[in-house]
């Protein structure tokens, strides 16, 4: 009976390593310990940034979790779930990607990437309203005044 329980534990441990990691792994971990995750299915969370670059029936999405952005190679239909990508005027969708991490993907020229099996939008992104600080406006006006004075002074010095 003890042997059976021990074998079951070992089986569960190893099958867990080969299968999907339930907890999302941070990009810092994926990049610095890529050997550990190479070829394995991982869950990764972050903000979709920049552009969704469609290439045939697939697309590239770059997902940034605060440390690094990692390229996600995903089916075009699945990528369409992402409606906002991060930029100056927008906060991108916060997504969870489950897929296989490649330390040096042979299909994509040795890039460290994730070939996604699924993508889920956890928090939708939104457009950001830009606000100009009043302090900045005040400084601009003061400096403009000083600049005018210096220009006038320089004209007098010329004469």
């Amino acid at each position: 009976m003890t042997k059976f329980i021990l074998c079951a534990c070992v089986f569960l441990l190893f099958s867990g390593m080969g299968g999907a990691c339930a907890q999302p792994v941070e990009s810092r971990q994926l990049v610095s310990k890529a050997d550990l995750y190479d070829g394995k299915t991982v869950a990764y969370e972050g903000e979709a940034i920049g552009d969704i670059m469609v290439r045939g029936d697939h697309a590239w999405i770059n997902v940034h979790d605060g440390s690094y952005a990692i390229g996600i190679w995903i089916k075009r239909e699945a990528a369409s779930a992402v409606t906002h990508t991060g930029g100056y005027k927008s906060k991108g969708d916060w997504v969870e990607v489950v897929g296989v991490l490649n330390k040096a993907c042979p299909r994509h020229g040795g890039d460290l990437d994730i070939h996604a099996e699924s993508l889920r939008v956890i928090t939708p992104g939104a457009l950001r309203r830009e606000a100009v600080s009043q302090d900045k406006k005040t400084v601009v006006y003061i400096l403009a005044g000083v600049l005018c004075l210096v220009m006038i002074a320089s004209l007098f010095v010329k004469k």
Binding site: V31, A34, Y68, A69, K89, G109, G110, D111
Partner: protein, 500 residues
């Protein structure tokens, strides 16, 4: 006896420094224009503050130090070295105001990194940076690559007989055309023609790769500016890895190599003398060093066994190497992969490439090919002298635009500058090790800063010690100006204190 600088020296320096600062302030109209196009109001205010500050300072200096005298060699060199320091501070103002840099020192670091065409960056959350600020990051690389004073010479200073002294101070000791202002304008012509071509090619590739055409054009222009001026900033935090595109990588490799060639060579090729490409000592030396450094890198990568297949190994290995050798600093791997996955041999291959650089009178930093070629020719000459009978006269020639007999007057400055670069690489390495970083990583980052490359193995970050940031800033500055104007400034300061 050391002579104390007199008031005329200071007035002359202040007057021309003022002109350069006004020029810099006026260039800020370009990012303001970008802000207007993309409807970004807050960044426009950041640039208005910086431009006004620059114009006030420049105008005040020009007015207070009014002078009609020509610049002496010493004054010209000091104007150049001070211009770069002032440019760093002014260029940092809009970056700091954006809120993407944790301190003004960090903003100064990126500003100097931009002007010196290095490419090391401390900016935070670059993926959310405005188009306006992003454009400025790339524009300062373009301006710095051409030379801040070259910009002023081309557009703001007319018919100045002391212009050549400032031109030389920016590590451009070769005149392409008889008049130095015409030379500056030719450099701009070459750059602008390539700008149109390069931007179009990159934009077409990016657009075909799934990017919207308006964004593709912006990215094309930014990446061209930093590739041709061998800078290395990129609009996104992932550098070139962001694009996931082999054609984009090929295009940037071609642009980086074009940027690493001597502008004089460009001139001769443009005027029909295509044979110069093969005959020139610089292109020959560049070809040999690229092949040699790549072989070292490739053997290292093969030993490490990271990349499956020769093509993948070539694509990753050659890209990082040529990016380092041309002094650009684009990466298609993460900085931590250099430190964690590449073995020491592969890293040493890239360090060698970074330390050597491209051609003189180009936008690259580091030792440069002409000096290396001359040193090797001199070594060959000495070896021949030992082997041949004592009475034999050994003569060596080298071809750089024209055939020249190799003389000690060529070898001595080449060796001196090479030695100065090696010392600079060494000082930065020691500082890195002082703060506890491993030797090879410290050497990598120090060489990258001093040779104005921008590749990083992960040391450069906002969290690194402030002293290291200052040391890297000084390395970038001294490395870009190739020491002479920096030494002159130090001498001037010593004379001001101890002179009689």
């Amino acid at each position: 006896m050391i002579l104390k600088p007199n008031l005329d020296d200071i007035k002359n320096i202040g007057f021309y420094l003022g002109k350069v600062i006004i020029g810099l302030g006026l260039t800020m109209c370009l990012p303001i224009l970008i802000g207007l196009i993309y409807g970004e109001s807050s960044p426009i205010f950041d640039f208005m503050i910086a431009a006004e500050a620059a114009l006030i300072l420049g105008l005040a200096l020009k007015t207070l130090c009014r002078s009609n005298k020509d610049l002496s060699w010493m004054q010209g060199m000091i104007v150049v070295s001070l211009s770069w320091i002032v440019a760093m501070f002014i260029g940092a103002i809009p970056l700091y105001l954006s809120g993407h840099w944790r301190s003004f020192l960090d903003a100064c670091f990126d500003s100097m990194s931009g002007f010196a065409t290095t490419g090391l960056a401390l900016g935070q959350d670059l993926d959310h940076l405005s188009y306006t600020h992003n454009f400025w990051r790339h524009l300062i690389m373009f301006i710095g690559g051409q030379g801040i004073v070259v910009v002023a010479l081309s557009f703001f200073i007319k018919g100045l007989s002391g212009a050549f002294k400032m031109y030389v101070g920016e590590a451009r000791d070769e005149r392409i055309l008889p008049n130095v202002v015409h030379t500056s304008r030719f450099i701009w012509l070459v750059s602008l023609v390539y700008f149109v071509l390069g931007t179009s090619v990159l934009a077409i590739i990016a657009s075909a790769g799934g990017m919207h055409i308006s964004k593709a054009l912006f990215h094309g222009a930014c990446v061209f500016m930093t590739a041709f001026d061998t800078g290395g900033f990129c609009p996104q935090s992932q550098s070139i890895l962001y694009y996931h595109s082999f054609p984009f990588e090929i295009a940037t490799v071609v642009i980086m190599i074009l940027g690493a060639l001597n502008f004089k060579l460009h001139y001769h090729v443009w005027t029909g003398n295509r044979k110069e490409i093969y005959r020139n000592i610089e292109t020959g030396t560049f070809f040999i060093t690229v092949i040699s450094a790549f072989l070292v890198t490739a053997v290292g990568l093969a030993q490490a066994g990271i990349y499956q297949g020769a093509f993948v190994l070539f694509r990753k290995g050659f890209y990082q190497l040529i990016s380092g050798h041309t002094g650009t600093g684009f990466q298609t791997i993460y900085p931590q992969q250099f430190a964690g996955e590449w073995n020491d041999l592969a890293v040493v291959g890239v360090i060698c490439g970074m330390a050597l650089g491209g051609a003189v009178c180009s936008t690259t930093g580091a030792i440069k090919m002409l000096r290396l070629g001359i040193i090797f020719k001199a070594m060959a000459q000495d070896i021949k002298r030992i082997i041949l009978p004592e009475r034999a006269i050994v003569v060596k020639k080298f071809h750089h635009i024209r055939e020249t007999f190799l003389q000690d007057t060529h070898v001595r400055p080449a060796l001196l500058i090479t030695l100065a670069y090696l010392l600079l690489y060494g000082i930065g390495t020691l500082v890195g090790m002082f703060f506890g970083y491993p030797f090879l990583h410290s050497l990598f980052e120090s060489t990258s800063a001093a040779a104005n490359v921008g590749l990083s193995c992960g040391i450069t970050s906002s969290g690194m010690p402030a002293l290291m940031k200052v040391v890297y800033i000084l390395q970038m500055w001294a490395g870009r100006l190739e020491f002479m104007s920096v030494f002159t400034l130090v001498g001037f300061m010593v004379a001001a204190i101890r002179g009689k």
